[in-house]
């Protein structure tokens, strides 16, 4: 009993409790169950991004490309091959995103720092251009509609609650998976790469392989979130691949805290609450959100550890058990 309760598993407990309470809290303040589902989806996407940004130190400005690609892959799989199913399209989406990320990552990870970030930005813009213009494949501006959720065995996924439960279960699985990764030797090497890439190389690690794997995992997790949102809205659209959305994902990670395991999830919640609540009062909620984002960077710049190149790495403030 004590083994389950020990603080080693704290993030899992926090995550599980939040997933259970979230729908009640959302409906309590007058938002819908679907909004709760979107929070979980964005949290998954942000945590996927953070594996790359917070843990490996590679800032991707184009992660919405993976969000969109995961979504389109699932939608196309259902529309062309697996009519009315949900499991197989998801599986295809994961496979496709991972493979594509492997190829793309191999190409662009050869560059570092600002160049890498610019490459991800270009990639995102390219993905948007393709999804917006290649109408015969992606439905162009109108997107791909007519997606059906079907059912998982006896459970009908058309119910809002059932779909939320599915998303929450997948979210928890992602949480568990990421926690294992981050605490594993692999995860520690990623942090080493973030802090000082040269030194990690001197210690004999093949950093290219580590970075590539981190990239693929990160892209696939965000792609999974993209597939979930497509089945939620029953529509795959180019809006998911915009550079603006990439920026919002990054904002969630930065504001929520990129050196904290659950930080991005909190950032996603914050973003969504901000959007849903502020948009009732003003059409300019994104302005205020942007101001918060800019403020965070200006005033907590020294907190973004690993990025202030001149700063000496300070002693860890966390316990032995990791983040």
């Amino acid at each position: 009993m004590t083994k389950i309760l020990n603080p080693h598993h704290r993030p899992l407990w926090v995550g599980a409790i939040c997933l259970v309470l979230l729908p009640f809290c959302m409906q309590g303040i007058g938002l819908t169950l679907d909004v709760a589902t979107v929070v979980v989806i964005l949290a998954i996407a942000a945590m996927g991004l953070n594996l790359l940004v917070g843990y490996t130190g590679l800032v991707s400005f184009g992660h919405s490309a993976w969000f969109g690609i995961g979504g389109y892959a699932a939608a196309l799989a259902q529309l062309h091959w697996f009519k009315d199913q949900i499991v197989l399209p998801f599986a295809f989406s994961l496979l496709f995103t991972a493979t594509l990320a492997l190829v793309v990552g191999y190409l662009i990870l050869r560059r570092r720092g600002v160049y890498f970030s610019l490459l991800t930005l270009a990639l995102c813009a390219l993905t948007f251009a393709i999804s917006f213009r290649w109408t015969s494949l992606t439905g162009g501006e109108g997107g791909l509609g007519g997606i059906e959720r079907g059912s998982l065995g006896p459970i009908d996924l058309n119910s809002h609650l059932n779909y939320y439960i599915l998303t929450a279960v997948i979210g928890f699985a992602v949480l568990w998976f990421l926690l294992r990764i981050v605490r594993s030797p692999f995860g520690h090497v990623l942090v080493a790469i973030r802090e000082n890439q040269q030194r990690a190389t001197f210690q004999g690690y093949d950093i290219d392989r580590y970075k590539l794997l981190a990239f693929v995992l990160s892209a696939t997790i965000t792609g999974l979130a993209g597939a979930l949102v497509v089945f939620l809205h029953r529509l795959a659209a180019a809006e998911s691949t915009t550079v603006a959305f990439s920026g919002e994902l990054l904002a969630m990670v930065v504001i929520g805290g990129m050196h904290n395991f659950l930080g991005p999830a909190l950032g996603a919640l914050f973003f969504l609450l901000f959007r849903e609540l502020f948009s009732m009062y003003t059409n300019n909620w994104l302005l205020y959100f942007g101001l918060v984002f800019v403020g965070f960077i200006i005033f907590s710049a020294q907190d973004l550890r690993g990025f202030a190149a001149a700063r000496v790495s300070s002693a860890p403030t966390r316990g032995r058990n990791g983040p």
């Binding site: 007058g30 109408t135 509609g145 529509l235 316990g319």
Partner: protein, 423 residues
């Protein structure tokens, strides 16, 4: 992170940040509770959800649309509301098809609207229609004109107010053919790359084929293309007798302005041009023949009264999107009053009974029962000869209504043989 073990009591910046976020989130949640809209009452006002694009290339039209429908709601409420209840209009920017769908869903679930209305973009109208059908809510698709919306994508919960693409092509096309621009001529077309543009293009090509015109080239342009110089060069190379545009929103304005900038001399006409976009193009830039669903110079007391009211309230002349939103709200109001209910099924039946509505034109309009399309007149228009305009916006010359007074209203609309709608 285990605070109990650490002897330090100073919190690390990350903890502090989390505290801020938690407090902020709780405050935000508390503020939401206080918001009256969320404290739902089941009786009370009739809530109508309204979505229209206010950004992007249809944005200027959306502004007129919102003004039109707001004026209608104010009139209704001032006269005592409907069935003793006030009308509460929740109007938002639909932005793009994906956002339109999620906002429509949210309006139904959270804001508990009885009806959905609006839209100008055919792509967004489609996604909203799908949401409406799934939730068994009535959706009046007001300004979206694509044929497929009333064709293979139709559903019984959606009613279409604006004239479809086929009617627009036929309305302008008849006038074009009469003036001799079509028979035996070489025609170059420009098409906006989205569902409405493609529909226009299909109908236009069919029309030209029927009337012995030859389409010698087609340019498909992205909806956010602002610079037409490359296309203009290609057009010059082709030397057509007529340039026919199948462009949407302010793309027409942009094209016409740049066309004037280059000073080319081929005649330009098109199958879609809203009055707002015509005004934006300006007197010196515009020429050719275009269709419209309504204009402010129609000589009926209804139209003139509407124009006066609108001009007084908003300090500008109404254009067709303002008018069509206004009459749509009035039609819904009539349906509610006649059926004495806000029940979607009863309203659908009322509309399908082909009840007549005063849409401020010479003839009354009615919804065709099998495709839910409003039957009404349309008008071709062109530009006045130079020097005749009395003021900056007065340079448009409107033609007679089509179909003619003795012809059936359905004459220009797609017949059952061409329309794939099955409900």
């Amino acid at each position: 992170m285990d605070e109990k073990r650490s002897p330090k009591t100073v919190h690390s910046p990350d903890v502090q940040r989390r505290k801020w976020l938690k407090t902020g989130t709780i405050l935000a949640g508390g503020a939401a509770l206080a918001h009256p809209m969320l404290a739902m009452a089941q009786t009370g006002p009739i809530r109508v959800g309204h979505l229209t694009p206010m950004t992007g290339f249809l944005g200027a039209l959306g502004e007129y649309a919102v003004q039109g429908i707001k004026m209608a709601v104010e009139e209704i409420n001032a006269a005592g509301g409907l069935l003793g209840r006030q009308v509460d209009l929740i109007s938002e920017d639909s932005v793009n098809p994906q956002t339109a769908a999620s906002k429509a869903q949210r309006m139904i679930e959270r804001d508990k609207v009885e009806f959905l209305m609006g839209e100008i973009s055919s792509a967004s109208a489609l996604t909203i229609a799908q949401v409406a059908a799934r939730n068994k809510t009535l959706f009046m698709s007001i300004g979206a004109r694509s044929d497929t919306l009333r064709g293979k994508d139709c559903n019984r919960y959606t009613f279409h107010v604006d004239i479809p693409v086929t009617v627009m092509v036929n309305a302008a096309g008849e006038a074009l053919a009469r003036e001799g621009y079509v028979k035996g001529k070489k025609i170059y077309t420009l098409t906006s790359d989205y569902v409405f543009g493609h529909d226009l293009s299909k109908a236009a090509k069919a029309f030209f084929a029927r009337n012995n015109g030859t389409v010698i080239g087609e340019e498909v342009v992205p909806t956010d293309l602002t610079d037409f110089s490359a296309q203009l060069i290609k057009i010059r190379q082709a030397r057509p007798d007529l340039i026919a545009t199948n462009l949407g929103g302010n793309q027409v304005t942009n094209f016409v302005k740049q066309y004037a900038e280059f000073g080319m001399k081929f005649p330009v006409a098109g199958f879609n041009l809203n009055t707002a976009d015509a005004w934006a193009a300006g007197e010196d830039n515009l020429g050719g023949i275009w269709p419209t669903v309504w204009h402010h110079e129609i000589k009926t007391p209804g139209t003139q009264a509407f124009v006066q009211k609108f001009t007084k309230k908003y300090n500008r002349i109404p254009e067709n999107h303002a008018w069509i939103e206004y009459v749509s709200m009035m039609m819904l109001a009539q349906a509610i009053r006649e059926t004495k209910s806000v029940d979607t099924e009863r309203i659908i039946k009322y509309f399908e009974s082909e009840a007549q509505f005063d849409i401020l034109k010479l003839r009354k309009g009615y919804f065709r029962s099998w495709d839910h399309q409003l039957m009404q007149e349309a008008y071709p228009f062109t530009v006045k000869p130079k020097g005749q305009a009395k003021h900056k916006l007065d340079f448009l010359l409107f033609g007679e209504a089509v179909p003619g007074a003795t012809e059936p209203l359905e004459k220009l609309a797609p017949p059952r043989s061409e329309n794939l709608c099955k409900m």
